[in-house]
């Protein structure tokens, strides 16, 4: 993916195969010799963690689908059957359910890193937009997956989210009926959600290929936010970043397994262990934690249509971010004023998530409105204006200088390559 490969297979069979399908050369140029900026910090390992989580979710999901039954009369019991009767079924299901949460933990860190270091800016706009598409596909997949156990939260989550489309004037009711395949959430709905829940991860995988492809055209952004210029600015992907990513994945697995094995239901809702009942809505209905900030935005607006538009708009606005941010300086490390607004934005998003889990009344509603206002102001007002007024810090001349300082001049570089693992932040 990074231009012409110089890879030559060692064996005769390898050379025979490579001349017919040059896939090993592609892998070699993309994931072995690919030059990465040498100053990447651990926030850059979340791409690898996300790739690992996608594979993990597909593996556990395909196996769960062998035991699950997508029928309103059988679905709930088939999940309990997985939990009690299937060998290691409890483990596979807990890994899959908590894996969804971990996927979102990783993607939120990944997105925040992109926001802080300006990874969305030229020339990485398409890369960023592909990421937004992946994020949307992830949300759709997670939502439909949560419906499958057919518990109370599954049913009412499906009802509330599909009803969002009824807000559209004129066509809304028809769209909702077509989504349901009936006059309410029922068996046809469960069946199609199962089908789509199985399909979408493979669509995600397809867009991930495009995402990595678009990444490998300019290469990774980095904490200094300046482009690599010479070989001194980079290190080969293997072994430096394969090892670093693998170490990060192992650390992340400890966190993941702590949830999956010790507190597997911490992120879920007890109500989802009650079978779906179309006559009773649970007294306190909230989506999964990863949707809460957007749910808070939905509830902050007192009008149904505008609330739905605000919620979808809060994600859609990310697509336009590359053209909203006016600053020429990419990395937040050199933008002191931006840092303040950025961390307020992060805190604001967390508070929105907390508010999304609270009942929609009194002070909570007012706080949600304030936070929603800041969320949109960050993109529409602050970032477009900040670049025009902010005094940024001077940028380093090169990535190598950012890592080694000006003392680590060109003459010292030969020795520093060997010592480079110690110098990476």
């Amino acid at each position: 993916m990074s231009g012409h490969s110089t890879y030559v297979p060692k064996s005769a069979i390898g050379r025979w195969f490579e001349s017919r399908l040059p896939i090993m050369g592609l892998i070699h140029s993309s994931f072995v010799v690919f030059p990465n900026p040498r100053n990447l910090n651990y926030y850059w390992t979340f791409g690898g963690i996300l790739a690992f989580m996608l594979v993990s979710q597909i593996l556990t999901g395909v196996v769960l689908a062998m035991h699950y039954v997508a029928n309103v009369d059988l679905a709930f019991n088939s999940v309990e059957h997985i939990m009690r009767d299937v060998n290691y079924g409890w483990m596979l299901r807990y890994l899959h359910a908590n894996g969804a949460s971990m996927f979102f933990v990783a993607v939120y860190v990944h997105i925040a890193r992109g926001l802080y270091y300006g990874s969305y800016k030229e020339p990485r706009e398409v890369l960023w937009i592909l990421g937004v598409i992946i994020f949307l596909l992830m949300m759709a997949t997670a939502f439909m997956g949560y419906v499958l156990p057919w518990g109370q939260m599954s049913f009412w989550g499906a009802t509330v989210i599909t009803n969002l489309f009824s807000a559209l004037p004129g066509v809304g009711e028809t769209i909702v009926t077509y989504l349901w395949g009936g006059f309410s959430v029922g068996n046809p709905t469960l069946n199609r959600f199962f089908s789509l829940h199985y399909l979408l991860p493979f669509m995600i995988a397809g867009v991930v290929v495009l995402h990595v492809w678009a990444l490998h055209v300019p290469g990774s952004n980095n904490p200094a936010g300046i482009e690599k210029k010479t070989d001194k600015d980079t290190l080969p992907f293997h072994p430096y970043f394969t090892v670093k990513d693998a170490f990060a994945v192992v650390c992340f697995l400890i966190f993941f397994c702590w949830f999956a094995f010790y507190i597997p239901n911490y992120l879920g809702h007890a109500d989802n262990y009650i079978e779906a009942n179309p006559a009773v809505t649970p007294s306190h209905i909230v989506p999964e934690w990863y949707f809460l900030p957007f749910y808070a935005i939905l509830r902050a607006v007192p009008d149904k249509l505008l609330g739905v538009l605000a919620m979808f708009g809060s994600i859609a606005i990310l697509v336009f971010l590359p053209w909203l941010d006016s600053s020429k300086v990419r990395s937040g490390s050199y933008r002191p004023a931006f840092q303040v607004f950025f961390w307020v934005f992060v805190a604001n998003a967390i508070v929105l998530g907390w508010l999304g889990g609270k009942p929609p009344e009194g002070l909570y509603v007012h706080a949600s409105r304030l936070c929603t206002l800041y969320y949109f102001a960050y993109f529409i007002v602050i970032l477009p204006l900040l670049g025009k007024f902010e005094r940024t810090r001077p940028l380093p001349a090169s990535i190598a200088e950012a890592v080694l300082g000006t003392s680590g001049s060109a003459s010292a570089m030969a020795g520093s390559v060997a010592a480079s693992p110690n110098t990476k932040g």
Partner: protein, 177 residues
């Protein structure tokens, strides 16, 4: 194959063929989409299950709300008390978000029976009966408040709880659908 088209007339004929073929292909592709969209609609089985249902009102005590299903949708049948009817009738219609007099939401002479769909018009949750500021319904999801006529009074829901099609087949029996 060696006789490559060079004259203007032959160009036009070839262009026409290209455009005609492309147009036919586009129409065919668009038509092929239709079955894939149409299959999403409620199927014959689901529609057949929407036959009218009869419901005997005799056991429903005054003040009681019962739930039943028609076409998979929840329906509330509320036996309203005199006070509940009175407050519903005396409400200033012009002040409502979705202005509707109580009289058009019940059958003439049967104002003690209120029959409405049981899903909130906001996002479809089931409101809790005899709750909220107007003692009608309160939706636990997003706080919409309905009065004793099922009309929206507070919160995000845009419209009143709709009245399903129904009629009295006898004094104490209704047929929904």
């Amino acid at each position: 194959m060696t006789d490559v088209a060079t004259t203007a007339a032959e160009h036009t004929r070839r262009d026409f063929l290209f455009i005609a073929t492309g147009a036919a292909g586009a129409v065919a592709a668009a038509s092929a989409i239709w079955p894939f969209v149409s299959q999403m609609a409620p199927d014959a089985d689901t529609i057949a299950a929407g036959a009218p249902v009869e419901f005997d009102l005799t056991p429903v005590a005054e003040g009681q709300i019962v739930k039943l299903f028609w076409r998979g949708k929840l329906i509330f049948v509320r036996h309203r008390t005199k006070t509940e009817i009175k407050t519903a009738v005396e409400t200033d219609v012009a002040s409502l978000r979705d202005p509707e007099a109580d009289s058009v939401r019940v059958k003439a002479g049967k104002s003690q029976w209120l029959v409405v769909y049981g899903n909130c018009t906001h996002l479809g949750c089931v409101p809790l009966g005899n709750d909220g500021a107007f003692n009608g319904w309160l939706c636990p999801c997003h706080g919409s408040v309905f009065d004793t006529s099922g009309r929206i009074r507070q919160g995000p829901a845009p419209t009143n709880l709709p009245v399903p099609p129904y009629e009295f087949v006898s004094d104490q029996k209704i047929r929904i659908g």
